[in-house]
Amino acid sequence: MGITVSLGAVLAIVFVALIGGSTPGLQYVFGVFLPYVAFAVFLVGFAYRVINWGRSPVPFRIPTTAGQEYSLPWIKQAKIDNPSTLWGVLIRMALEILVFRSLFRNTKAELRSGHIVFGPAKWLWLGALAFHWSFLIIAIRHVRLFVEPIPAVVQALDTVDGMLQIGAPALYITDLLLVASVTFLFVRRVVIPRMRYISLPADYFPLLLIFAIATTGILMRYFIRVDIVGVKTILVGLSTFHPTIPEGIGAIFFVHITLVAVLMAYFPFSKLMHMGGVFLSPTRNLINNSRMKRHVNPWNYPVKVHTYEAYENEFREQMKEAGIPVERE
């Protein structure tokens, strides 16, 4: 059900945008209005979610320790996987965010004639890494369409990414990687029974949406060419708040930009917020020094306890008989 609904939703977006993009009167709505609204929703929504998380305190220091603690001086500590300093945490977080350290640990458990055996399982890690990094690079590459002059960094990235030089225009490595990895991530959800079992529409939808974004982007670049000067005019116009829509831009452009707008607007309401959440995850971003340094719970409150006095009052006689010292004879 999840797949059908998600696919239907993406196709509907494509269809509506196609109509809008081919209707001159509506082009402004899809090329200007929608992107602005979506971008605003993205920014405000994202910030709201992160602030909202931040409003809930971290009452206890609960890092997941993935290696030896800081202990006696002659015992080698796992300074990154079980950090006792801020530096350790920063490196741990950097590894987590940049190279998906925890996912790299992944294993696969199998039952073979009554024994559980563990094998390495790096495909998900590789797929996720390819997906996120190519997405990021593609996003950065797109900056060249929004600004004039093009920043040198962006230009350099563009050149490196286009190194393969197959055909004209040059084929981007990240384009290939993104399509391949998003396909992989989708297919594994569909064919692995366990993955299908846990997947929700909210899991299929973003993958299909991103697949559609990538496809329309590629189509536009290599197959259904659009007026690139016109596109740049629109995008620079958007980024400088002087939006204009030149004549003769292909409808495919409007489909692409609409899909991106939907992704942006959808982002803050969805699991895609893991992008922000990973930074705040208390099992990863805390120093494991809770025996060295007191951590304060802001909502700590007094609780009812059973005092020694109450205890002794109940057991005084037998304590005395048993030769256990008491406070009051």
């Binding site: 609960i62 290696g67 559980i116 366990r194 899991d203 007191r294 304060v296």
Partner: protein, 538 residues
């Protein structure tokens, strides 16, 4: 029932879930997989909410009239109090990396035991009741409404999680299903839905001082019995003190080791070790429990029970606290105690009176782990050891979940074991250290009525022990946890007969050359030490 199914039958597990979605599959409560409900009077003892009589197999669990608001209000409250909970409700991408990391999934094949689904059971309620999308779109947004059926499902699966955190190690966002279970259990406790195996120890611990309900006299007597045993097997008489003011150190440990085999041998080990080094310390009958089953009901109850440790240290005027071998106790001490009941500014930063070593890593909490303490003693050559007394043992080490993944105590016990045993073998790398597998009985699930669950949940651990048993002839499973000592023997009996369970300090004590000792022909269990029988006649 468990007892009838053989290991062969039990290890026929299918890891492929059915095609029918989990939301469409109502909970199927099976005997052998759950513990009995908490007795109302045990809930009343500690003033927790909604004590009532109910039965797991009944259609009607007699939930309080306002059960729904209570649960949802409790959830709202915790979303505001715990960033962990809020974030973990929001950011799971269902990547499945955690799915086959849980010993309960690996042992049962029940797809709702995949950590991601366990969490989704509650997350779906969160989406359905708290988020706009979920309230409007329902199922389409992965949301569902809270119903009595859902409560049953949550109860069943939150009491099939040992809060071991293995899943959290592999999650790319560090989502800790243990944290969700902890909070989930708190919510169920608001409705009076606890299990008795947890609630009764909580009540005992609160009033009497320890889980087993050993009153002061009995507690002392039990230890005296063990002193007699030491006299018989070691040939020396030890006279420890109880509730003694002015001692330098308070020693606090779980009560399970005072009472039951094989934990008692570890306790004998403590007594001998402290005697050997002439430690100025005291036991306490008031603080005769450091394990904390309160942690398995609610954080508030955990704090209420944990209170005694500092209170007693203060009353007795000790300098610092030494803690015995225990798993979840160390999670509470390491990650919660100072926050709960600190600051412990009436204590001093712990320094070993024997070696002068400062325990830097415990300078605020002022509580040192026994294997940290012992490792330091050995390192400084302060223990006289005859390793060869343990030569008949082929030892492997089971890392308890909490010291591993909520503390990082990995090397200390290994160093100690290797210093007192000549034959040590590691289990496969994906099953030890931070990747260790739970005993299957943690977080208050070591009852007898749920034996099938325990044997299944313990299967991945047992499987790894079996591996080294077959390969290296391992016959001893060492551990630093009182629950392990209570739970692992049954697990070994079932899956790997021929492997005994021993505490690390028990192994130490067997190797200790005590001053004035007799011929050490027997170990602390009263068994002949192979190859030493002759010497006994000298």
């Amino acid at each position: 029932m468990a007892k009838e199914s053989t290991p062969k039958e039990m290890q026929r597990i299918d890891y492929n879930p059915p095609t029918k979605g989990w939301m469409d599959t109502p909970v199927n409560i099976k005997p052998g997989m759950y513990c009995y409900p908490a007795k109302p009077e045990k809930i009343e003892d500690v003033g927790m909410p909604n004590p009532h009589k109910w039965s797991v197999t009944d259609e009607d669990w007699h939930l309080p009239a306002d059960w729904k608001e209570t649960f949802l209000e409790g959830m709202r409250d915790r979303l505001q109090k715990h960033r962990s909970f809020k974030i973990f409700m929001d950011i799971c991408v269902r990547c499945g990396a955690c799915a086959d990391k849980c010993h309960f999934f690996l042992g049962t094949g029940d797809p709702k035991n995949m950590p991601v689904v366990r969490a989704e059971l509650l997350r779906s309620v969160y989406r359905g009741e708290f988020t706009k999308a979920g309230r409007i779109l329902g199922r389409l947004a992965g949301g569902r409404k809270l119903t009595p059926e859902v409560i049953k499902e949550l109860w069943y699966y939150f009491f099939q999680c040992t809060e071991c955190r293995r899943c959290s190690l592999f999650c790319p966002y560090g989502i800790d299903t243990a944290e969700i279970t902890i909070i989930g259990r708190e919510l169920l406790n608001l409705l009076g839905l606890n299990i008795n195996w947890i609630q009764e120890p909580v009540s005992n611990c609160y009033r009497i001082g320890n889980h087993l309900g050993l009153q002061p006299r009995t507690y002392k007597e039990n230890i005296e019995f063990l002193l007699d045993d030491i006299e018989t097997y070691v040939g020396i008489r030890i006279n420890p003190t109880f509730n003694r003011k002015g001692a330098e150190i308070l020693f606090a440990t779980p009560s399970g080791d005072v009472f039951a085999d094989p934990g008692i041998y570890t306790l004998m080990g403590y007594l001998m070790l402290f005697e050997h080094i002439g430690l100025d310390y005291t036991w306490s009958t008031y603080c005769s429990e450091t394990g904390n089953f309160g942690f398995f009901t609610s954080l508030e109850m955990a704090k209420r029970l944990n209170y005694k440790i500092y209170a007693e240290a203060k009353r007795l005027g000790v300098k610092w606290i030494l803690g015995g071998e225990c798993g979840h106790m160390w999670r509470v001490i390491h990650q919660y105690m100072d926050t709960f009941n600190g600051p412990a500014d009436f204590l001093e930063e712990p320094v070993s009176p024997i070696t002068g070593t400062k325990f830097e890593n415990a300078k605020s909490t002022k509580m040192v782990h026994i294997t940290e303490f012992t490792a330091d003693l050995i390192r400084h050559g302060k223990l006289k050891l005859d390793k060869s007394r343990n030569d008949h043992l082929r030892v492997t080490f089971h890392d308890s979940c909490n010291p591993s993944r909520a503390m990082g105590l990995l090397e200390e016990p290994r160093y100690v074991i290797k210093s007192v045993c000549n034959h040590f073998y590691e289990m496969p790398e994906n099953t030890i250290r931070e990747q260790t597998f739970c005993c299957g009985s943690g977080a208050g699930l070591n009852a007898s009525e749920n034996m099938e669950l325990r044997l299944r949940g313990g299967f991945p651990r047992a499987n790894a022990v079996r591996h080294v048993h077959e390969k290296y002839g391992v016959n001893t499973l060492a551990c630093v946890c009182a629950i392990d000592r209570a739970a692992l023997p049954a697990l070994m009996n079932y899956w790997v007969p021929g492997v005994t369970v021993a505490g690390v300090t028990e192994l130490v004590a067997n190797a200790l050359i005590m001053e004035g000792e007799g011929p050490r022909t027997k170990n602390l269990r009263g068994e002949d030490i192979p190859g030493r029988e002759e010497a006994g006649n000298v």
